[in-house]
Amino acid sequence: MFGESATAAKAGPAFSEPERSAVQRAAAAAGFDAARFRAELRAFCRDQVPADIRTRMRQHQYFTREQRIRWQQLLQTRGWFIGHWPKAQGGAGWGPLQRFIFIEELERAGTPWLTHFGTSFLGPVLCAFGNDAQRARFLGPIRDSTEWWCQGFSEPGSGSDLASLKLRAERSGSHYRVNGQKTWTTMAQWADWIFCLVRTQAGGKPQQGISFLLIDLKSPGVTVRPIDTFDGGQHVNEVFFDDVEVPVEQRVGQEGDGWTIAKFIVGRERLLVTEIGKAWHLLGVLHSIAAARHDSPTFRRRTAELEVQFHSLRATAYAAVLEAEAGREHPVDASLLKIRGSELQQAIHDAITDLLARDGLAFQIEGLHGDLDGYRHGDPRLPGLLHEHLHSRAASIYGGSNEIQRGIIAKTALRV
């Protein structure tokens, strides 16, 4: 079941995976055929990925900005990139189930991560809270991947306690003057625009004084400074705002709506953070490496454990998706999926690394971005897989840490 077939059988019971009948029924009710849709996505990922991107996928290398854009545009030739937007805005009006299957299959095939900031976050926000002028200005370039967005929520002093954020936006005439700093901004180095939570009003309940602003990163007074991370990358950034003028028309919703919009973003994408397709893909990688090597009872037991976790999580994810499709929400699901999804990803990476470690953990970072010029130690995937391992440590930190998620479950399920 894990793709790289011969090895999968060896590692445990091969799962056949007919589409579950509950999934098929829900899909039919939503007007699509789940099995056919999945098959179509698999064929697309098998046949349509450009050769240069496929090479990087195989080597677990880092994709360039241009490759990511090209891939997103290719998906949009089928209308899939914004399939989850309302039909009125050019989307296909997918519900949570179809969107989930779409993302699951892309991840499972190991295709480039979709930069969700525009398509998954801002797009739906503009559809729900924006005005016509904003939709007309911003949705097209997101659909076409011609404008790249990033998310400016966190600040140095406001991580888990997001509501305490301080980036100041003071109204002066038809503009806001923005002063302060965001941090950990993913891919700001590649972005054209940033959507920000800003403080438009001091005092009162902290959540109330927050507004949602769209800011052109080319505006005078904006500085983006990369942060070196321990995975050998530079993909998060500090973004500084020094008296940046932002037209009032670039505020989404009313002043004070920022917190509501932020919660809307979290709610919309809460199921996708499971990254179940990615776990699936990584299990395939694990099995392919294990098959090429001495395998042992201890290791077989460990992969069996991962298989148990994987299937439990996938079942839970689909249960949650079916609830969402029916317009309901279980109080535990969203946070559970975030916690278990990140834990599983990390556990698979631990197992992969333990295997690779037997041949020595070289970390030739240049190999992340293309073939090495000179000598290469070990598996060609080594730089990419180690980079991904280290990066996976952040999966339990970003987007609301696992500690914060457990706090949320305590609040909602235990009502403490």
Partner: protein
Amino acid sequence: MDNDALQLFEETLARYNRERYDAGQWRDYGRLPQGHSPERWAELQAMGCFELLRPEHDDGAAPLADLLPLYAAAGEALWREPLATVFAEPVAIIGQVADPDRRRALLEGLITGAQPLGYAHRETGGDGLASTATRCAAGSTASWRLDGDKAMVIGADICNGFLVSAINAERGQPAMFLVDAAAPGLQLQRYRTIDDGVAADLRFAQSPAEWLCNGTAAIAAADARGVILAAAEALGMMRGANRDSAEYLRERRQFGQPLLGFQALQHRLVEMLMRQRECEALVASVAEAFDHAAPALSRQVLVLRVQVARALRHITREAVQLHGGMGVTQELRIGRYYRRALMLDSLHGSADQALEALSEHP
């Protein structure tokens, strides 16, 4: 070392770390062509650290226990200098050399710094730590030739020679050889490792070699010594990671209070501290067993490896998590501890591997 001497030594090392090994210095040393600081290396020797290897009696061995503080200091500040080439596996292998004059000469080469040695045992493709496919053949009893590949030799740049395990085609038993770093037919390929260190792969083609001793016992002794010293290093890393994490949570405020005020986080730190404490006790006891050549030493070493590997991976993982975004930056040493923990598993075997060996061990 008696208690007073030990305390003095620990204070000296702590000062050394404060003055010579802050985060900025760590970064600078890594940018040097060797990947470490030759100046620091010379200073360690000048401080008399290498003398810790000098046996009290001509035929004895210096106690391994005396090296634990040195390795703990190295772990805490993440020294880049290749300590292993002097203090770890080579000492154990030299100890197996039968000819006393040769043995003394090789040890003297380590202590004076004249001849640090690289441990070239591991190979790729097998289960990493145990197998040897490198071949040796005797031209005559005095002159041997080696053919094959060795992987991830630490400190290769500064070594004058390599201790190489190889199999004799006729006898099938591994033996240990000394190969001069400038030997004909020896090729060296350098690369960076996960802990931002430098290692090299070696290729031998009809390289002349000196036979030193039988391999099996030497390799076992070398690996045991390596595991114990790595455990001491891991202890230093645990102390550093635990101290940094507690301090960070004490300083960092969210929700209007220091994060250390949240009981959920206190318990996480407590678990980390408990694991550190258990490892401290175990390292000391296994080092003592090593020095007294205790029976069942090999099992004790495996137990140590399992416990320390698990604890270190747990602690470094938690330390990253508790630091939030800061934990995954290059700015703090927390991420470096995490990466070095992966490297120690790669060098000395993961907890899984050791547990497996333990369960199969007689």
